[in-house]
């Protein structure tokens, strides 16, 4: 009886979250109808005329569509890899630090950027890399010519990934640190007695100990392979780097909301959702296979 009441309590706490999910994720899904219509905002979704697959045909004709899909995949994959490795390395290094106070301080400081929005961080990054900014001043000391970093389409994806890692690695570190504290200290003591050095215990105890967490995070992040980060790119890009920096979300935003081509934008958004759905299904299957993680 007592246990039952306990469970109810938890379900109740789910309600606000479910409500938000319903309002902001489920209801807007009906908007995909727009991609099959000649959408007229005055008549609304229910009153507009049907267009069949016309917008999808035009979408595949456009060179832009290919370009933004490729850009999204490239940037998002690079982010996934970098955001797995950087926090892992950092957590391992921090774990070796024996001075507890210093460790806590560092941990707090590196995850501060996580709480700032890209509007602010974007401004900071743009300033850092501007023509007269600190980075150019630094490279000038070594005799190189100043460079307009954010006008260089080859560098842009790297800058995006780099600044994303800078913002997020501190937060990712916390998860790994939590996993690290889960390792039984007795194992380290035993290894110590057996004469294992730091490297050996890292290799044979620490890494296997957090393997499950690492694989799980890796697999789950596959669901984000089509989310290259709208707010970040939107705050950093300019027309010069569209060829490598324009992603699906920014393109849909510009096409749909700035240029009033609602149908085309919705069609591309829908395509993104379909591909994303497939990728997420695969990633959950993989999660089930490799680390026995299940949702259903």
């Amino acid at each position: 009886m007592r246990m039952k009441g306990f469970a109810k309590h938890y379900y109740l706490m789910l309600i606000p979250g479910l409500l938000l999910l319903f309002i902001f994720s489920i209801i807007p899904m009906f908007g995909i109808i727009i991609s099959f219509q000649y959408f007229n905002p005055g008549k609304g979704i229910l009153g507009s005329d049907w267009a069949g697959l016309e917008h999808f045909r035009y979408m595949f004709l456009l060179k832009d569509t290919q370009e933004v899909f490729v850009n999204t995949l490239v940037i998002a994959s690079m982010k996934i890899v970098a955001n797995l490795i950087a926090p892992l390395m950092f957590a391992l290094m921090l774990n070796e630090l024996r001075l507890m106070i210093l460790r806590r301080w560092i941990q707090t400081i590196v995850y501060l950027p996580h709480f700032l929005s890209w509007v602010i961080l974007g401004g900071i990054v743009l300033d850092l890399f501007s023509y007269n900014g600190p980075v150019n001043q630094l490279t000038a000391l070594f005799g190189s010519q100043p460079k307009v970093f954010f006008a260089d389409s080859e560098l842009f994806p790297l800058l995006v990934v780099g600044s994303d890692v800078w913002k997020e690695f501190g937060f990712g570190t916390i998860i790994y640190l939590a996993a690290l504290t889960g390792i039984n200290p007795a194992l380290y003591e035993a290894a110590n007695i057996d004469g294992a050095g730091r490297w050996r215990s890292l290799w044979h105890i620490t890494l296997p100990g957090i393997r499950t967490t690492a694989v799980l995070l890796a697999v789950l992040s596959l669901g984000n392979v089509l989310n290259a980060g709208f707010d970040q790119i939107f705050n950093l890009y300019n027309p010069l780097v569209y060829s490598t920096g324009d992603i699906i979300d920014t393109w849909v935003y510009r096409t749909g909301l700035l240029n009033l081509q609602y149908e085309l934008a919705t069609a591309v958004g829908l395509l993104k959702s379909v591909v994303g759905f497939l990728l997420i299904s695969v990633s959950y299957y993989l999660a089930y296979r490799f680390v026995n993680y299940r949702i259903f």
Partner: protein, 568 residues
């Protein structure tokens, strides 16, 4: 435990209900009540005051960095809104306020979601969209009954261009603004004090422009011992390289005069050699102009951060840039702050550089690019017209003090100016200064609404010698508001009076049907390619493949459509 969860559910339920209630409370005032609609049946009076307060929600452009409003005033509560409440009994509310680029996004969002303020100021593309979506009211009668005679005169004097722009199926769907011709003519603004210091003359040709820009970059014109000056300022991130047929006016920091110095008119529909319409951006003259800009950029004479910089006016205000291209009204732009920053920053305007035949050949603009639209079921569709009447009348009477918040704070402001307002004012100032005429001679020119007040303050801000426009002969601190206007007119308008020029118009200033789906992507192709060519990210030869792509991706079809619509 059970009790607690019940409490929680109660709180949750309450918050949902409360949320719904507060929403309702917000919505109600916007709905017209029967009594209010009845009131609008009183006889038409362009300046009539309502007996009951009338509400209108609008969208407005606000510059968040603007600091002209006096202490305690806000964009919603200032000399303009107080005067409107007093004179018309209208309460203005902002449904949304945003800065330049962001405002366009908010407007698009409002159109897409059909969640519109009662009235707003839109551009030609947005107007067309709203007409097709059947979102806005027919204003034919409102205009007939409520437009003040002065505004009617100005609109009629555009030879039908203003009315044509807002007439759909014989109905007038918006109130067109009418801007002075000068807004579409882009001049070269240059730091005269830098020229003087380096013993240079204003550059008249492209070759001289290069020489002067080089001197501005290399010879330390600001005298701080550092090589930190920009020769020519370029567009900011998201800015335009040149004005185009859809946005034919007021392109700040573009390269319009450089293009026209090569007889190139990108973004305009021109008559081709075969008499058919052709798009200026794909012509060989444009390629030439791009090559020359590319060369200037490679030599470091154009701002290396053009196209990336967030605000192009920053180096101008900070005294780090020597040349930029923009229309006459630049004291309303960056120059007031530039001069506040350094009283010796002597910005002068020239109708330069010239083309190979020694001509200044700017592109011409259409008179109406801003339109006031009214939401379809708004109960008082005449309120926006009355607001515009009221603005025009009070500008004639000089009620407002622009130094206590610029005219941009006036709700739904669009400009009504006779097409020659700038040139006429410059002539008038010169005649008054030289003593050949007096203020009384211009008292009857009602259409030139600001002229009497301008003349009244003229001699407080302009010192002798009256024929010199040098910044040292001005006294801006006596009245910054008046100085901003008069300096813009005399310095920025002067070259328009003193120069013989032939304008090149576009054959068309609006979208054709096919453009609605294709133009955006063609524009993107064009903008991106040209910017990359100039900044050296792509070779000049990219221009040739651009022309190919442009034609293939719908450009050729659109050119045919333009020919058809012109034939009609």
């Amino acid at each position: 435990m059970k009790n607690k969860s019940r409490w929680f559910a109660l709180v949750l339920a309450c918050s949902v209900v409360l949320g719904a209630c507060s929403n309702e409370a917000n919505n109600t005032p916007a709905e017209p009540t029967p009594e209010q609609s009845a009131k609008s049946n009183e006889p038409a009076d362009p300046f009539g005051r309502y007996e009951e307060p009338v509400k209108i929600s609008i969208s407005i452009e606000v510059d968040p960095t603007d600091n002209e409003l006096p202490q305690g005033d806000t964009p919603l509560e200032n000399q303009y809104t107080r005067q409107i409440k007093e004179a018309l009994n209208v309460d203005v509310d902002h449904q949304f306020a945003a800065s330049g680029q962001n405002l366009r996004q908010r407007i698009s969002l409002a159109i897409a979601s059909n969640d519109l303020p009662d009235a707003m100021v839109v551009n030609a593309v947005e107007l067309r969209q709203m007409v097709e979506a059947d979102q806005i009211a027919d204003l034919t009668e409102v205009y007939e009954q409520y437009a003040s005679p002065d505004i009617k005169t100005i609109i009629e004097k555009t030879n039908g261009a203003a009315l044509e722009a807002v007439t759909f199926d014989g109905k007038m769907m918006a109130l067109p603004g009418v801007q002075a011709n000068a807004d579409g003519i882009h001049l070269m603004w240059i730091r005269q004090d830098w020229l003087d210091k380096l013993n240079l003359e204003p550059p008249t040709t492209m070759a001289e422009l290069e020489m002067v820009a080089r001197a501005f970059v290399e010879n330390d014109p600001d005298g701080n011992g550092q090589r930190d000056t920009i020769g020519i300022t370029g567009p900011e991130s998201g800015g335009k390289l040149y004005a185009n047929f859809l946005e034919s006016k007021n392109n700040l920091y573009g390269f319009d005069p450089v293009f026209s110095a090569h007889d190139a008119f990108p973004g305009y529909w021109l008559e081709g050699e075969d008499g058919k319409p052709v798009y200026g951006s794909i012509l060989p003259e444009t390629r030439e102009a791009l090559a020359s800009l590319r060369d200037l950029y490679a030599k470091g004479l154009i701002d290396p951060e053009m196209g990336v910089r967030n605000k192009a006016d920053e180096p101008i205000i900070a005294g780090k840039s020597g040349i930029f291209f923009a229309p006459w009204w630049m004291a309303y732009g960056p120059l007031t702050n530039a001069v506040k920053n350094n009283m010796e920053a002597n910005w002068q305007a020239y109708a330069l550089p010239l083309n190979n035949d020694g001509e200044f050949k700017p592109h011409a603009a259409t008179p109406s690019t801003e339109f006031v639209v009214v939401r379809k079921d708004y109960a008082h569709p005449e309120v926006p017209m009355k607001l515009l009447n009221n603005l025009f009348k009070n500008e004639q009477e000089n009620t407002f003090d622009p130094s206590k918040g610029g005219p941009g704070y006036y709700p739904l402001r669009v400009v009504y100016a006779p097409s020659d307002e700038i040139e006429f004012s410059v002539q008038a100032f010169r005649e008054v200064l030289s003593g050949s005429k007096t203020a009384e001679d211009f008292a009857d020119n009602k259409a030139y609404k600001l002229l009497p007040s301008d003349i009244a303050s003229l001699k407080t801000i302009k010192n002798e010698p009256y024929d010199s426009m040098d910044i040292s002969t001005w006294n801006p601190e006596a009245n910054w508001g008046a100085w901003t206007r008069t300096y813009s007119l005399m310095v920025g308008g002067g070259p328009l009076v003193d120069t013989e020029y032939n304008e090149v118009p576009s054959l068309l200033y609006e979208q054709t049907p096919l453009m609605e789906s294709r133009w955006v992507n063609l524009r993107k192709l064009e903008d991106e390619t040209f910017l990359r060519i100039i900044m050296g990210a792509a070779p000049l030869e990219t221009f040739d493949s651009f022309v190919e792509n442009w034609k293939r991706q719908g450009g050729d079809q659109i050119a045919l459509e333009v020919a058809e619509s012109l034939a009609e």
